[in-house]
């Protein structure tokens, strides 16, 4: 919502300066987004007369002007404008002046060898219009030396306000003036509503069939009007606030809307067939609106129609066919009240936003119909002539407003601010509320947003000054602050920082991915109905696509080693699953003077990260079993899952299927993992006290065993069997070698295991060690392993 200071003063008797008005507006909740003061912007430009104009000696299209600026001797200016001539009165900018339309600062310069000490300006150079065919020509009697902004009537600063959706009343200048008056910036002038001398009944019938959508429709015809251009003062105001002047009749409706927040519409009576009715849309109907687009109103929408069909969407947009033009002689003024919910639904359904919709859907003052009609009629009579008919009043606007049983302590109880009762009463009354002796507060018709005590508190606090609310500490519990993080939050923090400590870089990628990316990881469950782009359409069922895309971008930028992780949610049919995803791409170790060639990442790097992070997350790492992968994104033979049991999958890791790499355009070694944080069992709650422990006094001993097993027996199965061979003596078993080839039968592998034995009270005898060894060999035999001879 834009307004000018001059326009504001039509409604507000005030001596406040622009700055004071701007500060007050923001203070009371009418946020100033910008102030444009053309007088300040154009202050250096003055009126000047061209005394002589001669051909430039070096250029055909340039002239050398002698200019009287009203100060001192004439100034020499080189000018290329075709209309520059002796006697012309125009606008002069001296050296040092900033020219806003060209974004340059003038300086004394030689143009083709002739010195130029300033510039005669065009409209475009002053950002007043796009006109650039020649320099500005002012009336010959304009005083030379005067400030151009003053003589051109540009001295009216424009204030741009951001009006919140609750303040329909401030979508007109008068409402803003009322708020400022209450804030102590002046007095609200009384609204001059003319008594219209009418001649004869309205020749157009007005009826309401859709009382729900259009409870009231007032109107009248003005005959014998002449619809030319509106006067300059009105055009200047409309232009200043961003409205394009069209014709007097249209400009009047826009002016009243901006002035009073009261939308109106005008119809050319000659283009109407029969009476006018506010009714629901009907199947098969359509009309072309003033924006040139065709709309087909549905039965859920309110249209204004005549015998020929719909003319426009009530309260949103009028139709092209029934609109006024230069040839209009008889005009029908519409001043109606449309139900906000209906307007909102219709506007949403059609995706159509107009000045009228913005006001009607927020709730136009239902008491403004008669006044609006009278003021519009007077303006038409004044600007276009004509004879007004009697008004027609179909239906009744909903005038009743709530009465709030106000508690005068509420400002302190809710707002924390002490305001004397008399002051509270004064504020409410100046805002238009009715207050009786028992604090029954009647809400004015233009404040549809107010319906409870909290609303009244807001009104009093914002006018009294929210900066006066004293800062009050929240009560604090005794002692030091208690921990607040939940176990899940603590786990998330630990795995994040553990991953960073292990050299991984945390990324945050989009929660939505493309359909193709989602399909590559098995398809997403949630697809946006209105995505912002095809790339951001499906809620990710996996963190891998986003991370792989980021990795691919890094490779394209020349990265040789990418370690990325993300902690975020996967969006599945049954919920949002907290997950840690990681991708390792390219080189695990770059070429090095000690280690030699670069080392590529492989699945065991991903497994190492997964296990380390699971351990940090509190998963029982020694009970985890490596099993085949589930997801088809993985290489079927070079990937796996880490599970606590057949159903309990805590992580998936491995190298990717070649199809997946192709889908993401990655041509480098890749290993990835996803850890399902929500699948990790919660640690059992207990005290801080640890189990009792004393380090063993005796040294452990180790024995190595090499076994031959079938190639499809997993290392894990063998090590577990060995580990379990003697639960008291054996404290660890670790595979340290794996060999296939010469000396090992086809289809078998050699696996070497180091077994650690811990003596308790006394050292092992040879016989005891031999007994344990036999148990180890026997246990290994159960998984088909034979001791290598």
């Amino acid at each position: 919502m834009k307004l000018t200071l001059g326009w504001l003063k039509e409604h507000l008797e005030t001596s406040a300066t622009l700055d004071e008005v701007v500060v007050a507006l923001t203070r009371i909740g009418l946020e100033v987004e910008g102030v444009d003061d053309p007088a300040a912007r154009l202050a250096p430009f003055t009126v000047a007369r061209v005394l002589t104009a001669e051909r430039h000696p070096q250029a055909d299209k340039l002239q050398v002007l002698s200019v009287d600026t009203g100060k001192g001797a004439p100034v020499q200016v080189v000018c290329g404008a075709p209309n520059a001539r002796a006697g012309l009165v125009g606008v002069f900018g001296a050296p040092g002046t900033y020219v806003p339309g060209s974004d340059i600062t003038l300086k004394v310069a030689a143009i083709r060898g002739v010195e130029s000490r300033g510039m005669m300006c065009s409209m475009r150079e002053l950002q007043l219009s796009d006109e650039h065919d020649g320099i500005i020509e002012l009336p010959a009697d304009t005083p030379v030396g005067a400030r151009f902004a003053d003589v051109a009537g540009l001295a009216d600063p424009v204030i741009d306000l951001s009006i919140t959706p609750n303040r329909q009343d401030c979508m007109g200048v008068r409402g803003i003036a009322r708020d400022l008056a209450a804030a102590g910036l002046g007095t609200l002038k009384s609204l001059n509503v003319p008594a219209i001398k009418a001649s004869g009944p309205c020749p157009i019938d007005i009826a309401i069939e859709d009382e729900e959508g259009c409870p009231a429709f007032y109107g009248r015809v003005v005959r014998d009007v002449a619809n030319g251009a509106s006067p300059e003062w009105m055009q200047a105001r409309l232009r200043a606030v961003g409205q394009r002047p069209i014709s007097a009749l249209v400009d009047i409706t826009n002016y009243v809307m901006l002035d009073l927040g009261r939308p109106l519409h005008v119809y050319d009576v000659a283009k109407l067939s029969g009476g006018i009715v506010a009714r629901r849309g009907r199947a098969g109907e359509s009309f072309v609106a003033l924006n040139g687009k065709s709309y087909a109103p549905t039965e859920d929408m309110t249209v204004i129609a005549d015998a020929s069909g719909p003319l426009g969407l009530g309260g949103i947009i009028g139709g092209e066919a029934s609109g006024v033009s230069e040839t209009t002689t008889d005009v029908l003024i519409e001043c109606a009240w449309f139900t906000p919910e209906r307007i909102a639904r219709t506007g949403q359904a059609l995706g159509l936003s107009t000045d009228a919709r913005q006001r009607f859907e927020r709730g136009v003052d239902p008491a403004s119909l008669d006044d609006g009609l009278a003021i519009a009629t007077r303006l038409i009579k004044e600007l276009c002539g004509g004879q007004p008919s009697e008004p027609v009043r179909a239906g009744e606007p909903p005038l009743s407003t709530p009465i709030i049983d106000y508690d005068v302590h509420a400002v302190e109880v809710l707002g924390g601010l002490k305001v004397a009762p008399d002051r509270q009463r004064q504020i409410l009354r100046e805002l238009g509320f009715g207050v009786d002796g028992a604090w029954n507060v009647r809400v004015p018709t233009w404040r549809r947003d107010v319906d409870g005590i909290a609303d009244l508190v807001e009104e009093i606090v914002r006018i009294e000054g929210i900066d006066k609310v004293p800062s009050t500490p929240l009560p604090r519990a005794a002692g030091v602050a208690h921990p607040t993080a939940t176990p899940a939050q603590r786990m998330e923090r630990r795995v994040r920082r553990a991953a960073a400590a292990r050299g991984l870089n945390e990324a945050v990628t989009w929660s939505f991915i493309s359909e193709a990316e989602a399909a590559a990881v098995g398809g997403g469950r949630w697809t946006l109905a209105n995505p912002i782009s095809e790339d951001l359409k499906v809620m990710r069922p996996s963190l891998l696509p986003g991370l792989l895309a980021a990795a691919a971008r890094n490779l394209a930028r020349g990265a040789q080693s990418v370690r990325l992780f993300e902690v975020g949610r996967r969006y599945l049919a049954d919920g949002e699953r907290p997950t840690l995803g990681l991708v390792l791409v390219g080189q695990r170790a770059s070429r090095d003077w000690r280690a030699g060639k670069p080392q590529p990442f492989d699945l065991f790097d991903a497994k190492a990260e997964a296990l380390a992070l699971l351990a940090q997350a509190g998963a029982p790492a020694d009970r985890l079993q490596a099993m085949p992968p589930i997801s088809e994104v993985y290489h079927p033979g070079r990937a796996g899952t880490l599970r606590l049991g057949p159903k309990s999958v805590l992580a998936e890791f491995g190298e990717l299927h070649p199809n997946m790499l192709r889908a993401f355009g990655i041509d480098a070694p890749v290993a990835v993992a996803e850890i399902h944080l929500d699948a990790i069992p919660a640690a059992r709650a207990g005290g801080r006290m640890r189990d009792a422990y004393r380090p063993p006094l005796l040294q452990p001993v180790t024995r190595d065993f090499a076994f031959l097993v079938a190639a499809d027996v997993t290392a894990d199965a063998l090590v577990r069997a060995v580990r379990g061979a003697d639960k008291t003596a054996i404290v660890a078993a670790r595979l340290f070698d794996r060999f296939e080839g010469a000396g090992v039968p086809q289809g078998q592998v050699s696996l070497a295991v180091e077994v650690t034995l811990q003596p308790a009270a006394k050292s092992f005898t040879d016989a005891e060690i031999a007994a344990v060894s036999d148990k180890v060999v026997a246990a290994a035999a159960k998984v088909g392993a034979t001791l290598r001879g």
């Binding site: 927020r362 601010l417 929240l474 050299g503 990324a507 949630w526 090095d592």
Partner: protein
Amino acid sequence: MSETDDLNERLLADIASAETLPALETVRIAALGKQGSVSALLKTLGGMSPEQRQVEGPRINGLRESVSAAIAARKAALEGAALDARLASERVDVSLPVDAGAQGSVHPVAQVMDELAEIFADMGFAVATGPEIEDDWHNFTALNIPETHPARAMHDTFYFDERDANGHRMLLRTHTSPVQIRTMLGQQPPIRIIAPGRTYRSDSDATHTPMFHQVEGLVIDKGVTLGHLKWTLETFVRAFFERDDIVLRLRPSYFPFTEPSAEVDVGYTRDKEGRRVIGGAEPDGWMEILGSGMVHPKVIAACGLDPAEWQGFAFGCGIDRLAMLKYGMDDLRAFFDGDLRWLRHYGFAALDVPTLSGGVGA
């Protein structure tokens, strides 16, 4: 000169001239070995008369001790020289580079969320979470934003075609405020929570991304006023930006779910390079950083609480923006690109854990 003196002189000369440990060993064997010259003399002691032994004993034993001592000294000297030579040969160029290990980092959004949790924990706020795929009741209706409310259109909502069991349209939450609703429905007051998380709006330009992060704050209790809100925000902002000279400006505003409502501006000054820096007792200008207000009685009632008994305040703030203002990033889109160079520059070390004693900034 006796025979022993001659032998002593000769052997000491041989020892001194032994240049290597093996050469010295040869001399030792030649003198003290079983067949050695000194050993041969020692053996003659047995065939001597007592008187003769009285004289020759000390002389021959003196020879043995003299030779043994000389060999030991020479051996130590040769071993020392050999060690010096070995150490000299083992010298390396210590300026050769070492493997620094991969340099991991924590994303600024996560870091700032941890900072927020730490600051608000001190004020007694727990961290709450809620779903990002929401329904329009929790995201709008319960927050006093009915279907036809103009504020719904202002939210640029992402919708799904699905509806939940109650017929509510599913959508991506446009703010973290539905966590207010879920918290009030799920627990009895008094309530003090913050709710950080991802939020979504169909908006994309230089300063807006379709996904961004917000933190919600909610206090529900008895006797909580706008004054408590003001104190909480001042305390939070000063702790977060680690400056006590930060000035806040509350501006009356409008949010459907709070009444009264206020937007909060924070004063900034400009540094030498002209960048805006939060703080300064006399601000050069104001920046809007959050929206807030007293929870609307209708919202409290929608959550099954009695607004006559319980009241409180709520606020919402952009986390990405907080990070940018504190740490100086100027491009929001870079937050979600995963560019390693950016992550290493603006990210945080694993051990930069915000704590009250160590500071909530890094």
